[in-house]
């Protein structure tokens, strides 16, 4: 009975709104834009922070990353830098790795890495790669999965064998037709036997953009034993550029410290920093704590959501004021009708309900259209730009809920103004 009455009130509301189609449509626009912007903005924000968080998670939230960085300019000129060539010594050392393992509590594993850029060849195929000298524990620490064959093992390390493990992407590029296993690829002047293929933790279809977080192209990696890297490439790496050459002595490019748990990460972070600062004269390393990055990303996302939410709330507020304005005009215009309805038995609350329903139909109608447009917009944005967007269910619910609330809040005043009219005055109204 009640629902039947409500249904007929809604039908009446729609009818009244259709009497002024353009006016109703324009009024709805405010809500449409408001709801659409809430959903679209939240979707874009969600997508952006998702990508950032994925990239950070890939680094491992129990890990602390140490990287060698070239010290600032002044340190270099000290090294005597003639125009023909100079040799610069900086970065993390094997000793650092050993000290970390022994002095920092909560350390599970210390994983040293030498990262050298070289072209890798098989038959006629040649690709620029990162040749990463590391220990067998790399696969566990970084979460790389062995797809074929095996990862590096301790025997490889002991014998400083010329063996390598390559990533799936590189395997496809270097060996479009052959099976890579047991073939040898050429790096610099030496041949390395392929013993395994690994899949990095991040999916290969992920764009290189997010891979940049790590400072390396994603899927062109060759892993060789650390000892092999030391003997084959030596400690001094020479980089030639435009006639001059630059020699750098870097023992380790990166050390990944795997901690017991996130708590250990928190306590170890300052300890590691102060220890390294103690042993390094120049500022030639950086410490990256993915856990902190993740927290920052979450914090940023929260702030982002609040800012977006406020903007959206303001646009909905403006939409609501538009609705209220129209409804007040509507009440004035229909004063006579209100008087007639009152004479025919309508109570004040019947009049309130009628105009409130009309406002809510307007705002919820706008809300529905806004939801549709708001769900489509992020998809289009994703297609046109390379941005990832995620439309969450709760953002749709929120936007839709707000549009309904706007209708009630801004419809209440005009509806009550209508109900307060004196029936006799209203009937006399021209």
């Amino acid at each position: 009975m009640i629902s039947y009455q409500l249904a007929s009130t809604v039908r009446l509301g729609i009818k009244s709104l259709l009497l002024h189609k353009l006016r109703s449509a324009l009024t709805m626009l405010g809500i449409i834009f408001g709801v659409c912007s809430v959903i679209a903005m939240l979707a874009i924000g969600e997508g952006a922070s998702f990508e950032a968080q994925e990239a950070i998670k890939k680094l491992g939230s129990n890990n602390i990353l140490l990287r060698s960085v070239k010290p600032p300019e002044q340190g270099r000129s000290q090294g005597g830098g003639g125009s023909r060539g100079s040799q610069l010594k900086y970065g993390l050392t094997y000793l650092d790795g050993a000290r970390l393992q022994t002095t920092i509590p909560g350390v599970l594993r210390v994983l040293p890495m030498r990262i050298i850029r070289e072209n890798v060849r098989f038959a006629r195929n040649e690709y620029p790669c990162q040749v990463i000298g590391t220990l067998p524990s790399y696969a566990d620490v970084s979460g790389a999965a062995v797809v074929r064959g095996r990862f590096l093992c301790h025997m490889d390390e002991q014998h400083k064998d010329n063996v390598c493990v390559i990533t799936t992407g590189l395997a496809q590029r270097l060996f479009p037709t052959d099976d890579p296993l047991d073939h040898s690829i050429k790096i610099d002047t030496f041949y390395y036997r392929v013993v395994g293929i690994v899949q990095e933790r991040s999916q290969p279809e992920q764009r290189s953009q997010s891979g940049k977080m790590e400072g390396q192209p994603l899927d062109n990696n060759v892993y060789i034993p650390l000892g092999t890297s030391r003997t084959r490439f030596g400690e001094v790496l020479v980089r030639r550029s435009a006639g001059s050459f630059e020699a750098e002595e870097v023992q380790l490019h990166q050390i990944t410290v795997q901690m017991r748990d996130t708590e250990a990460v928190e306590t170890a972070d300052p300890q590691i920093k102060s220890m390294l600062e103690h042993f390094h004269e120049q500022n030639d390393f950086e410490v990256i704590v993915p856990l902190q990055l993740l927290r920052q990303a979450e914090q940023t996302k929260r702030i982002f959501n609040i800012v977006l939410g406020s903007i959206a709330a303001i646009s909905l507020l403006v939409g609501g004021i538009g609705i209220m304005n129209i409804m007040l005009a509507n009440v004035t215009e229909r004063t006579r009708e209100i008087g007639v309805r009152r004479a025919l038995g309508a109570k004040r609350r019947d009049i309130t309900r009628q105009f409130l329903v009309e406002t809510v139909v307007l705002s919820v109608g706008g809300g529905l259209i806004g939801v549709v447009v708001g769900v489509i917009t992020p998809v289009v944005v994703s297609q046109l730009s390379d941005m990832k967007t995620i439309v969450t269910f709760w953002s749709v619910l929120l936007a839709f809920g707000i549009s309904g609330a706007v209708g009630i809040v801004f419809g209440l005043y005009p509806a009550r103004a209508a109900a307060r009219l004196d029936p006799i005055d209203a009937l006399r109204h021209e």
Binding site: M1, R342, L344, K347, R348
Partner: protein, 238 residues
């Protein structure tokens, strides 16, 4: 105190419009009136004599400043707003000079409006509404809107609408004021037929020929009933 046999029983009704101090207007100054069921009553009088004020009070659109008004035995003079609305919807059918149909609704929907406010399911009363439309000669135009009808047709829709809740009486304020004499006559004939069927009618008019159709004619002057003329005897209370 109320006369149980009367549909309308007003005693010493005054209506004061407070305009501040000396400027107060006493539109009704202690009116007494009894109307029995089945009576056709016309109210006449010069402009400003209090006819509309009287009709507003009879129609429960307004409350008297003092005095009593029993409508079908119930004292309406002191009712709160919601109950007045209910009394209007259930006990009174209004016919206005300017028809006052709702523009966005069709003929049949206009007839249904008073049902809505009594919480009645329109679907159950559909046949009744169709019958009423036929009664007023608009059975073929159920889906038309007011702007597609002539003045006389609109007024006939208003009459059908006034009957839908089967009220105790019909109040009509100058129902033919906006109509030419031929359509006016049709409308008045229709009202006569309702009265012949037993409906109590109270009608305000300037027109002697309209008033001639009523059983009783009361003449108002300066907020009082000045004199009353009985054209023919109203039906005896049973």
């Amino acid at each position: 105190m109320p006369d149980e046999s009367a549909i309308i029983h007003i005693e010493g009704v005054e209506k004061r419009y407070a305009l501040g101090g000396e400027a107060d207007v006493l539109a009704l100054r202690g009116v007494h009136l009894k109307v029995h069921p089945g009576t056709y009553l016309a109210i006449m009088g010069p402009s400003g004599s209090g006819k509309s004020t009287m009709l507003n009070i009879l129609g429960c659109l307004d409350r008297p400043s003092s005095g009593s008004y029993w409508l079908g035995g119930e004292n309406v003079a002191t009712m709160p707003d919601d109950q007045l609305s209910e009394a209007r919807g259930l006990k009174i059918g209004f016919i206005f000079q300017s028809y006052n149909l709702i523009a966005q609704l069709t003929v049949i929907e206009n007839i249904q409006v008073p049902l809505l406010y009594q919480g009645r399911d329109v679907r159950l009363f559909h046949q009744r509404c169709v019958d009423l439309a036929k009664l007023v000669g608009l059975g073929e135009r159920l889906g038309h809107r007011p702007n597609q009808l002539s003045g006389g047709q609109q007024q006939r829709v208003a009459i059908a609408r006034s009957l839908v809740n089967d009220p105790l009486m019909i109040l009509a304020d100058e129902p033919t004021g906006n109509l030419d004499s031929r359509t006016g006559t049709e409308v008045l004939d229709l009202i006569d037929r309702l009265n012949a069927g037993g409906k109590t009618i109270v009608l305000v008019t300037h027109d002697e020929r309209v008033a001639a159709r009523a059983h009783r004619v009361v003449h108002m002057k300066d907020g009082l009933i000045d004199r009353e003329v009985v054209n023919r005897p109203p039906p005896m209370p049973s």
